[in-house]
Symmetry: C2
Subunit: 517 residues, 2 copies
């Protein structure tokens, strides 16, 4: 299998159908494929050899679509770059994988000089956008496309390296996750086979940043089963609502925070969202309160949650629209997708009985080739043939996987284990809590103590810490209730919409906390 096979199929089956819609610019599949084949020719002409890494640093747009297809077409390896990273972080990843080419759009043209300085081996920078914005020495993408005749697709595939995806780096330096064509394609076909992803032929809106593998996979499933791709460079509730209405969007992938903003924002309130049929989300379960409001605002929509990680290409489990009707099951990450096996194991990698909390591990053709240039970490992560996710969880009698915490995020307080997600879920049921995160902080008496960081909803009377503690104690064991509560305006989020607990801990420990009570 190879990443470009969906493009060939689309050209054969829907040559005149819109492939990409980016603002007012619409390109059909024949035109899109022609540009891909010319861009691939241009990459080769600029010295890209088979297996060379081509990095892409851009906001969502038709450029992203074309580069994602042109790079494998040219027999090169994709490196989508995290757009939220600082220059040193980006430069680290480009040096780490020895990128030959960097493609940027206007949003990132300004940092190219600084990046080049820290990435001396970068050979070529391609720029798409206004000539006035073009970095010194960068080559115009449109000129490359216009200036080269289409080449044949290299049709690299199977076990060959398709892309390197740098993980969020919640621990130390980011690691490059190597995924083969078969890794990515088995994930795409397996997830699609579950019957809860896009309906073939759908109009899809891509607004979550596509450098993240979840969003990229949403796009890739659409290319594989067929559809039209609408791109937005960034998320605003009003912008998303307007795009749905204008383009009759039927499917999109968001993170729960975005869903919450879309259904709650007055900017999105007037728009006709009735075309929407499917909403995929990942990164974390959705709170019952948000789900209820979303179901009211989007009555015809089936919600699907995907759980996984880059190392799993990235989907391990899926929570179907039907599963969302069950108040218990919708707190889980769903069940193993058809392409992937999932287990819960103890510290000796023995499978635990149902209900036992341990590490979530996964096996299947979607498991990464390994970490780029990190054989020891690869061997450790893939020991025994299973990908060790580092997530703690348990499985119920029907295979639903409940992610309780990162193994290392578990709080040990007074000798008891507390999983922060459980506390967060209890806190989130309070009507005044808009969002929250629970962490362990050093405590002389308890070793660690349970500490909550809370964003309050603006439209209800603000509770104090004691009221929230009581609220939690009425729902779960008393020792799990937060001993301290901190009120903040917003939680720090990763590019994928995950709460950056590392940031919370750092901030708290540096004494910068506001309003701890």
């Amino acid at each position: 299998m190879h990443l470009t096979q969906g493009l060939h199929r689309a050209v054969q089956q829907n040559p005149d159908l819109p492939a990409t819609i980016d603002g007012d610019r619409v390109r059909c599949w024949v035109e899109s494929a022609d540009r891909v084949a010319r861009l691939a020719a241009g990459l080769r002409a600029h010295g890209v050899r088979p297996g060379d890494r081509v990095a892409l640093l851009a906001l969502n747009g038709d450029l992203y679509h074309e580069v994602l297809l042109a790079v494998p077409w040219a027999d090169a390896v994709l490196v989508p770059v995290n757009t939220r990273w600082s220059v040193p972080e980006i430069a680290f990843s480009l040096r780490d994988c020895d990128a030959a080419v960097l493609v940027v759009d206007d949003a990132f043209a300004a940092i190219v000089p600084a990046l080049r300085e820290q990435t001396p081996d970068l050979r070529v920078v391609l720029h798409s956008g206004e000539p006035a914005q073009r970095p010194d020495g960068a080559v115009d993408v449109e000129g490359v496309i216009a200036g080269h005749q289409p080449v044949e697709d290299a049709r690299r595939g199977g076990d060959a390296l398709a892309g390197i995806f740098y993980t969020g780096g919640t621990t130390g330096h980011p690691k490059g996750v190597m995924l083969s064509h078969d890794n990515v394609m088995s994930n795409i076909l397996g997830a699609a086979a579950a019957g809860v992803m896009w309906d073939p032929g759908s109009r899809l809106l891509h607004v979550a940043p596509m450098f993240h593998l979840a969003a990229l996979t949403g796009w890739a499933i659409g290319v594989t089963v067929g559809g039209t791709h609408v791109f937005l460079p960034g998320f605003t509730p009003g912008g998303v609502a307007a795009a749905i209405e204008r383009h009759h969007v039927e499917g999109m992938l968001l993170v729960p925070t975005m869903i919450q903003m879309l259904v709650d924002s007055p900017d999105a309130a007037g728009a006709d969202l009735s075309s929407l049929r499917r909403l995929l989300y990942g990164a974390s379960p959705i709170s019952d309160a948000v789900l209820a409001r979303a179901a009211e605002r989007l009555p015809g929509v089936g919600f699907t949650q995907a759980y996984g990680m880059s190392e799993l290409s990235p989907i391990a489990t899926l929570l179907s629209p039907t599963d969302h009707l069950d108040p218990v099951r919708r707190r889980s990450g769903g069940r193993a997708a058809p392409h992937c096996e999932v287990r819960i194991v103890d510290e000796q990698d023995r499978e635990l009985p149902r209900g036992g909390v341990g590490q979530i591990v996964a096996r299947g053709d979607n498991v990464m080739l390994g970490y780029w240039n990190r054989p020891e970490e690869t061997a450790e992560a893939l020991r025994g043939g299973w990908m060790h996710t580092g997530d703690g969880g348990y499985m119920d009698d029907h295979g639903y996987v409940y992610v309780v915490d990162r193994i290392k995020d578990m709080i040990v307080t007074g000798g008891e284990n507390v999983y922060s997600v459980e506390v967060e879920n209890a806190l989130a049921t309070h009507p005044a809590v808009a969002s929250c995160a629970v962490i362990g902080v050093p405590d002389a008496g308890w070793g660690e103590r349970v500490h909550a960081v809370v964003v309050l909803a603006g439209d209800v009377p603000a509770p104090d810490a004691e009221e929230l503690r009581e609220h939690v104690k009425n729902r779960i064991a008393g020792y799990k209730a937060p001993r301290t509560v901190e009120f903040v305006d917003a939680l720090p989020l990763s590019g994928a919409g995950k709460v950056l607990k590392r940031e919370l801990r750092k901030e708290h420990w540096s004494g910068a906390a506001r309003g701890v009570s």
Copy 2:
């Protein structure tokens, strides 16, 4: 990927759900998996080594289900045997692949002595059924299952040989098509990803003979995406209707002839078929008349046609329920499935422009490893990396593939090429024609002449040959109209429900034709 992964997933997700229903016998997934693991242990105990071929000669039933899973579980290779074949044909295939074990049910117990005589290297015969029927020296399957502790799944997969499927043998000796686990699984996931196969969790009825790869794939997709499997040992319209009503069947695979019988037979007229949601069919397009009657009898059903062959594991193209609403497109075999590329090529393997008639070729992970012990025929079939189907066809501007004929079935009459399917489609629109086949027969004046073999519907006045000729001439070019017409009671059909044109030609040439006019 490996064939048993769906079984592991089902045990994890639906342990207590019915896995198999065979008459009054219901087994849940835990029990089914336990029997599979014990049967696999028994196979090993009877000397089955990794890669050994285990043949299965049985009617549809829960035995079929368990053997299909136990053989890969034991690291052996499946050989499903054509139940319609004669003893010499079966013995040929068992000798050809050097089968170590043969599993039979009561329906085939009686021919075991004759088979053993012609298959001296067969080591073990397992028999499932009445002790009184057991062939001499055969081992009781239930005893094997009861007498062995479950073994671990060998989890053979990937490129390893999963099964050998003997093709119908429309030309010469049957050939053993070697399919790997990845071949079969890429086909399953790809077809399921198209969104037109079974809905996950469906109750499926298996009545088309499962030795045929189309029916076996229908079962395997169900195992992979999840569902309950109801088995019927043979097709009768009344039996199928009763099973649908009794078990609330939601999906099944039939050949068009079976669909026609189901909707037309008085035996099926009273049954409640309202649970049915999806009907897959293959082997040939469905006539408009039958489709109209089927849509009336089964108003809630989506029809999907699959086109392919054993060498493609077997699906190349799919015609979706929506496609069936289009009177032109529903005459096609549909469009390339997500896992497979399809082209039309000329005799030098160059792709033809859209509309040009040539050979249908396909490429993808679903293409067979090759023919067992036939390297030359393998190389010929797979030349240039594409599977050459031997079918003639053309592709329209939206990728729909119209199968016009086997390349070798094309009729050359007076220097003109005539594709029999086109003539058959024209004939079938006559209200008195129940079914028909068109062949070329030797003709002194024309080289070949177009000859039609017709089964008349009983309930309308019978036309004569001249009326049918005029009917065809009003629809397609005059030279394509049959010069001779033969009326018969029934057409000879293969196990897959395809008309055996070879038989028709032989019968005609031997002077056995009745009523030629």
